[in-house]
Symmetry: C3
Subunit: 205 residues, 3 copies
């Protein structure tokens, strides 16, 4: 039962990330293939970069479900194009849930590697899992990466990863640590958007 719930969350996250890639691709007049690829890259790009850095086979090469989730997202955008704007709030929550889950998955995978990485590597891998897919998406559509300019997005990942590592150091049970960590990512992101929190912009010389 627990497994199924995590699988459901993973579907929600992959779906939401793919939707964001497909919608931005459509704004740049990409064809169906291009939109699908950008959606897929947004959904799995962060975990792929993490896995390449960790030296393991990228996770999506073990299971076709990510291709299928992206296909569902693609047909959803094609079919319900006009309704999408009204669903923006829903997508925002899906995206935020996905972010929390991806961070936890990335931290957990890194922590369980034989190489015994330091906690700061665990936090970075969690952040990359959550945030690097969006950077890859923006590179593919030839835009300046959004997370470098707007919103507390990556910082929520860093915070959640740090919470995860503190829980681990304190001996908190893994499942509990994962839940606390994912929820803290979600809370920080919701607070940041509600109160328009953002980082200062570097002043030009």
């Amino acid at each position: 039962m627990e497994l199924r719930f995590v699988d459901f969350l993973e579907f929600i996250g992959t779906f939401a990330f793919a939707i964001s890639g497909i919608r931005l691709a459509s704004a740049k007049h990409f064809d169906w293939f291009g939109a699908y690829v950008v959606g897929f890259a947004t959904a799995v790009g962060g975990g792929t970069i993490r896995d390449l850095l960790l030296g393991v086979t990228p996770f999506w090469m073990h299971s076709s479900s990510y291709l299928i989730f992206t296909a569902i997202a693609f047909f959803f955008v094609v079919l319900f194009r006009k309704a999408l704007v009204r669903l923006d709030d829903t997508f925002f929550y899906f995206d935020t849930i996905g972010l929390g889950l991806f961070v936890v998955v990335g931290c957990n995978k890194t922590l369980q590697m034989d190489a015994h990485y330091a906690y700061w590597v665990v936090v970075i891998m969690g952040m990359l899992t959550g945030a690097a897919g969006g950077v890859l998406r923006d590179i593919l559509i030839n835009e300046v990466p959004l997370i470098f300019r707007k919103e507390i997005y990556a910082l929520a990942c860093l915070f959640g990863g740090t919470v995860f590592c503190i829980c681990d150091a304190m001996g908190v049970a893994t499942v509990l640590a994962q839940i606390i960590s994912a929820v803290s990512v979600v809370i920080i992101r919701l607070l940041a958007v509600k109160y328009h929190l953002c980082l200062p912009v570097l002043k030009r010389e």
Copy 2:
């Protein structure tokens, strides 16, 4: 004799891919070094991404021939600059032959890995080998990747890869499977260009 013919095709493909990178780089006022690098990245980029995902040493680090092929392409562009436009048709055929060959090489390499990847991974690796070099080229020259917006290019790769896997599942001899698969990539691409076939563009919201 067979080996020599494949080597010849590989030269043709690498040469054509490098030419496309060098010409686009020259349109962006790159210097000689930049043009060479973009040509090399176009030629070997797809195979490099495939090899990183498969966890093996990138193929071009085993043989200097790809550096040399790219150098030949570079001097060809420098020397015959004015004649290039008249040769566009020839380059198109070279590029298409290269595409067919690259897809087959990518599929074959993936299928023979110890990890025993699923057929859909084989098809994706074939497509990446054929098409990802062009995406890397477009990122390096800071343009929106062409294959996301125009022409049946990646779909020809997907089709050829699928043909390859069907042949393998049916027990067709490897050499024959490779020929059938490469020829099917070439035919799809030729048909797509002749009849201006392209995928629908995603409508904006």
Copy 3:
């Protein structure tokens, strides 16, 4: 004592590379997080690409000093923003010293791999270590990579790598080979800037 001097040079190089990334990010209105990430990617990007191609764990995952060096660079830019322009000459020398060091580190690491790479691979890995971080920086800020259009930068890396390999083939002691090679990178770069040497631009068709 020798170790400490190399560590000092590594700090200088990482600091200078990170500064260049942070300053360019600030010119694009990146926030603090984005600027830090671009600085870090500029500093460690070349070595990371090298390590991925060599199939080893990226060097910065073994030591937090690169994160810390980048943080120092970041606060330096934030605090001394107005003074930076006057320090341009100093940064140029730091950057050049870093380039020489990075090339040598990249060549040396590649040469000592069990895989026994050919000398031309060693030279390419040295060049990637020195120059690919700047390419990654320019991709992240969505600009055409600077080194493809201006200055003898990558060529200085290629020259230094070649010097390193010639020294190795002649049996010169490693420490001496490293010093000669790094100094030759610095000299070529200084000469190129002093006499405005640059490569020809490819003429458009």
